[in-house]
């Protein structure tokens, strides 16, 4: 069995800061991580491989330094890393990204065997679109299973998979055929730490690095900025509210209890109906 897992190297958004004066992003020194949502998909792929045999190939598109995230995936237990990197990919939106990834997965299929399952993260923490997974599925003609909370059954002979999919107000139990694309829900498994052998292997492993041409992409106008139907025209910091928050005077009210009373008075003065609403709510109405 062959499984491909698409991952993305992202800035650790918990550590991004906006400059208080210039309102610009302070990118310097922000560490990069594997998109956290991708790890649940990687873990699920490794579990399937451990149970049914085969190989897990991790794929990413990004700048050369994105190979770090592939090596990290190898230390967790993946068998092979493929980096898709080319200046033609710069500025890709989700449609152009799904085009490039789909081409690379085709090429991976030719070299290492067609994948039975492609995994992707539910979404990234930097783009937050959740569009690339479905885009890759559509371009490869794969059946699409998103927001998967558990794989209930997997049958290689029958080429079938049964999963639980989170939907509005409940869980759908869906059965479909391989090959398919799966995105896992966060918290659906616990990501392993990786074994020492894997760390040693990862340190020595060659990361396969492909340009657009290497991946079999002939028409580079479908990549990057040129292949992106969406155009970002403006990037801006949100305007502050006309008035800043009215601050409670903590010099006049030094004790915590006094401060609390002053705050509550200010809230009720701001919104007259609030006191009545809160009384009803607190009384359980």
């Amino acid at each position: 069995m062959h499984i491909v897992v698409c991952i993305k190297q992202v800035p650790d958004s918990a550590q991004i800061r906006v400059h208080p004066v210039t309102n610009t992003i302070m990118r310097q020194g922000v560490p990069t991580i594997i998109n956290p949502y991708d790890l649940f998909s990687l873990e699920e792929a490794l579990r399937l491989r451990d149970k049914f045999g085969g190989e897990v190939t991790v794929l990413t598109m990004g700048p050369p330094m994105a190979s770090e995230s592939l090596r990290k995936a190898l230390t967790i237990g993946a068998d092979r890393g493929v980096l898709l990197t080319d200046r033609f990919f710069a500025g890709s939106d989700t449609l152009a990204t799904s085009f490039a990834l789909a081409q690379a997965i085709r090429r991976i299929g030719e070299d290492f065997g067609a994948p039975d399952i492609v995994f992707a993260g539910k979404q990234t923490i930097d783009g937050d679109t959740a569009q690339v997974g479905p885009g890759v599925a559509k371009r490869l003609g794969l059946l699409q299973l998103t927001y998967v909370s558990a794989i209930a059954d997997f049958d290689l002979n029958d080429k079938s998979i049964t999963i639980e999919r989170r939907s509005e107000g409940g869980v759908q139990l869906l059965k479909t055929k391989l090959p398919c694309l799966v995105t896992m829900l966060e918290g659906s498994n616990v990501v392993r730490r990786g074994r020492i052998e894997d760390a040693l292997r990862a340190a020595r492993a060659d990361i396969i690095t492909w340009s657009a041409k290497d991946a079999g992409i002939e028409d580079v106008t479908k990549c990057g900025l040129r292949g992106s139907p969406t155009v970002v025209k403006r990037v801006f910091a949100p305007p502050p509210r006309a008035e800043k928050a009215a601050l409670i005077d903590t010099n006049a009210h030094k004790a915590a209890g006094e401060m609390a009373d002053a705050l509550i008075e200010a809230m009720f003065a701001h919104t007259e109906s609030l006191e009545g609403d809160l009384e009803k709510l607190a009384a359980g109405f």
Binding site: I16, D128, P134, G169, Q172, T230, V235, L274
Partner: protein, 366 residues
């Protein structure tokens, strides 16, 4: 690389001024009316309210798109769409559309778009909407902007879709200039619910989809509804108390729960607390969590990054508690107090308890 850089100027295909000939007859604004087991998702009505404004600015019609099994439920969805502002409803009825599956839904919606050619197509950014929108936009090879917080029409009639970017620290406005339809998703509760006009009427345009259960590979074996007791009603709560990294450890989050319990409120948190595993993800408030519109929102130890701000800005009254007087939360809170949330929350809980207790006053609540 799906994160985009601002366009650097000319030279790229998508920056051409003229819309290609084949897209010139794409007109009208569509809203996908999302239904799960016969119930229309409220986000669809919120989108009809937004779509109405866009259609009026463009001088075109607003259409709801209803997909489902033939029966009363789709008729009801159409009637509700009219009540919330649709001029017409495209009705796509087929037994294979009884419950959501990507294959028949994406095929039916793609075929409908290719037949009736809308210029704008809006969907809710729900699990269903995101699953469907990504497939349809890829098949149509058009632009799709996810999780918009603001939609507008420019003077040249193009859709300006604004969303947070860079992990939610800045906003960006995105256009799909040379492709149609211009697609966008919006999260539930981000847009205001429009007024429902009882008895408002519209016309129904039926569309017969080319679907056959025999050709659909994915089968629904079962649906397991959530136990109601597990449901977090954060998005619709009147009062919400939330905590952030200022609480410093998982144990201190109990202070937020205590205040919420005293107020009869729902509790939530900012994203880092979920990433640290202190609080479950169904409690996350912000761009990637829940959007809330309560009467009162109390944020304790939350700095107020944009990704959090866009999730709470609809609150009538925002109260911020933070030790850092320069924290961005004070830029959009109405009332603030510069103090340590860990020490202040117990005092606030106690003060509210005294104040709101029915026995502390002569008059009873209500």
């Amino acid at each position: 690389m799906s994160e985009q850089k601002p366009a650097a100027g000319g030279g790229r295909a998508s920056m051409k001024k003229e819309l290609p000939e084949k897209f010139r007859d794409y007109r009208h604004v569509w809203v996908f009316i999302e239904m799960e087991r016969g119930v229309v998702h409220p986000v669809s009505f919120e989108l009809l309210g937004e779509g109405r404004k866009l259609a009026d600015r463009l001088g075109v019609e607003l259409a709801g798109v209803v997909l489902g099994a033939p029966g009363e439920e789709v008729q009801h969805a159409a009637k509700e769409s009219f009540a919330y502002g649709a001029d017409l409803v495209y009705m796509v009825e087929h037994p294979t559309l009884a419950d959501y599956r990507n294959e028949p839904y994406s095929k039916a919606l793609t075929d409908l778009v290719n037949t009736h050619k809308p210029e704008i197509l809006l969907l809710g950014a729900t699990t269903l909407g995101r699953d469907l929108a990504g497939s349809v936009a890829t098949t149509l090879l058009t632009g799709l902007t996810a999780d918009c917080t603001e939609l507008n029409v420019d003077d040249d009639k193009s859709l300006a879709a604004t969303r947070p970017t860079f992990g939610g620290s800045l906003l960006c406005t995105i256009y799909t200039l040379n492709y149609r339809p211009q697609m966008a998703t919006v999260r539930p509760r981000v847009m205001r619910m429009p007024e429902r006009v009882e008895g408002r009427e519209g016309r129904i345009v039926s569309f017969a989809p080319d679907l056959d259960e025999a050709n659909i590979i994915t089968k629904i074996l079962r649906f397991l509804p959530d136990r109601d007791s597990n449901k977090v009603n954060l998005a619709f709560a009147d009062v919400v108390v939330a905590g952030g990294m200022g609480l410093q450890n998982a144990e201190n989050f109990q202070l937020v729960r205590n205040l919420a319990a005293t107020l009869g409120a729902e509790y939530g948190c900012s994203r880092p607390l979920v990433q640290k595993g202190w609080v479950t993800s169904d409690r996350q408030i912000g761009q990637t969590g829940k959007t809330i519109r309560p009467k009162l929102y109390i944020a304790a130890g939350i700095s107020g990054a944009i990704q959090h701000r866009v999730g709470v800005e609809g609150a009538d009254l925002i109260v911020a508690i933070n030790t850092d007087k320069n924290a961005p939360i004070f830029d959009f809170a109405h009332i603030g107090i510069v103090t340590d949330a860990m020490r202040f929350l117990p005092a606030l809980t106690e003060a509210f308890r005294k104040r709101l207790s029915p026995h502390s006053k002569d008059r009873l609540a209500g």
